[in-house]
Assembly symmetry: C2
Homo-oligomer: 305 residues x 2
């Protein structure tokens, strides 16, 4: 591919642009409707989705068009439970009718729907459906690293199983997982560390929260506003991750030079590559006098809608 | 003041909103014209400034209005030197006529004018005038900290001299300075460390680049898009900063609890407070399960136009 000939900096900038393509001129943003519950915006509904929802007037009401327009839940759905159930029924029907291909990836895993992370959840929604409503998703990503005896830093990476629904076979952070309804970040962190890499809780608990990586992209499945809560986990020299629940096929311990090179390749899950880029910046592995897009990298890793 | 009764989280969020008020609905953004050199946008010109520039048609051309409009430099100004000199002549005249109060703070210090930090500079401009054109300013901020023998982290802060032009007498990072035309970040870092706190180069060089803090605010002096390159500098236990060029009146070594409390007070220079907040997040002193606005903090510290 032509892009493989680009300098590293351009490839990294291209990654951030791609993962923030909903912000770019020409995106569907101006044609999306706000998704509104109880008067508060909780997402963006692409036009193709909005038109399919008009069949369900007992659940969704629609007003205006484009950015000025809204798809709202009917006022009769006045509780968390009622909203979650009514939307779920619609989604199950659309899934059976095979209206949206993303619903083929139904997971029976619920995500909370909130105006902001700090707000009370207004409903929960099947994970595979959130992109149809541009509902923000949250997750936990763990940079697993070691400080070698000579002081150099190496990083543990995982390779996703070939049977994963999304990004099969690509490189990933040591541990990562979505934030399911009703769980805290700390619980998610400890659970995913145990399940994906057999990291015992006594080690996982030493992970340090160091910020978030936020971005919004769109593709044929809809709109993906996401924020990943990032943790750095310094692993003991004698520790080796083990394959747990089968979501990972292999682990690698690589020097940061190699990690830096591979994060801009097609071989790396893109949002996890962003988490690694953030690590390299925070750990002074990228220097602002030497990296022309340094400032663009930092803002591109932290974009909110 | 009523705000002093708010919880810490709300005060910190209010700080970030204030420092990004150009992004808020109701800001002058929709009435500003793009400032354009060689076809590339390098700033935002508030309406009151644009109207004063029409007197100088040999330097500035104007087209359209509001966000769709532009103030451009005349094509005859076809070099860095010509542009810098022509604009400087206009600014000197406006200064003599006392047209804009910000020009009373003329510093004889030039900043580069660039579409992006990585681009070649198109001209340089007096520091005190950049807000009239919404030209982005860059600086270096240093979090000076210590790791005490018991492992706890304390932070060195400075108190600005009462005679400083901007934010006299407020708390500030240990060292901070604007990026003058023709200097690198590393040079600025070492020079400011020496001048402001008598930190020798052999210590200053150990400062670690850890990202940027970016924001855009507006006030009666114009538009301030700024990016600060942030460095963490771990200082030896035996080191004490000394007053250098007189821009600082005092230094304090405080526990992070006290630093966290004071950063949301009126006593702290606002952009430096943002740099400290970024430090507290990166060093896991703020935990995402305990801080409701964690994600808003991280994105609010890294906003680009």
């Amino acid at each position: 591919m032509a892009t493989s000939l680009l300098p590293w900096s351009d490839k990294a900038l291209a990654l951030l642009c791609r993962m923030n393509n909903f912000h770019l001129p020409g995106s569907s943003l101006v044609r999306c409707r706000r998704f509104v519950i109880e008067g508060q915006q909780v997402g963006w509904v692409p036009p193709v989705v909005a038109s399919k929802l008009t069949r369900f007037p007992e659940v969704f009401t629609s007003s205006g068009s484009g950015e000025a327009g809204a798809v709202a839940l009917c006022p009769a759905l006045d509780s968390y439970r009622k909203r979650s159930e009514a939307v779920n029924t619609v989604l199950q029907q659309l899934r059976e009718e095979d209206t949206f291909s993303c619903l083929r990836g139904w997971r029976d895993e619920k995500y909370e729907v909130m105006p902001r992370f700090c707000d009370q959840s207004l409903m929960c929604m099947e994970r595979a459906a959130t992109s149809l409503f541009g509902v923000k998703r949250y997750g936990v990503h763990v940079n697993g690293y070691r400080q070698e005896e000579d002081g150099t830093v190496t990083m543990w990476l995982s390779r996703r199983s070939r049977t994963k629904q999304t990004y099969p076979g690509t490189l990933d952070n040591l541990v990562a997982g979505g934030l399911a309804a009703g769980t805290s970040l700390q619980e998610t962190l400890i659970k995913e560390c145990e399940e994906e890499a057999c990291i015992p809780a006594c080690i996982a608990e030493t992970a340090c929260p160091v910020g978030t990586v936020s971005y919004t992209y769109e593709d044929e499945d809809g709109v993906f506003p996401e924020s990943q809560f990032v943790f750095d986990l310094k692993l003991p020299l004698e520790f080796r991750p083990q394959i747990g629940d089968g979501e990972v096929q292999d682990f690698y311990l690589w020097p940061l030079d190699q990690v830096k090179e591979v994060l801009v390749s097609e071989d790396f899950k893109p949002n996890s590559a962003m988490v690694v880029l953030d690590f390299l910046i925070r750990h002074s592995y990228v220097h602002p006098d030497a990296e022309p897009y340094y400032q663009e990298f930092v803002t591109g890793l932290h974009k909110s809608l």
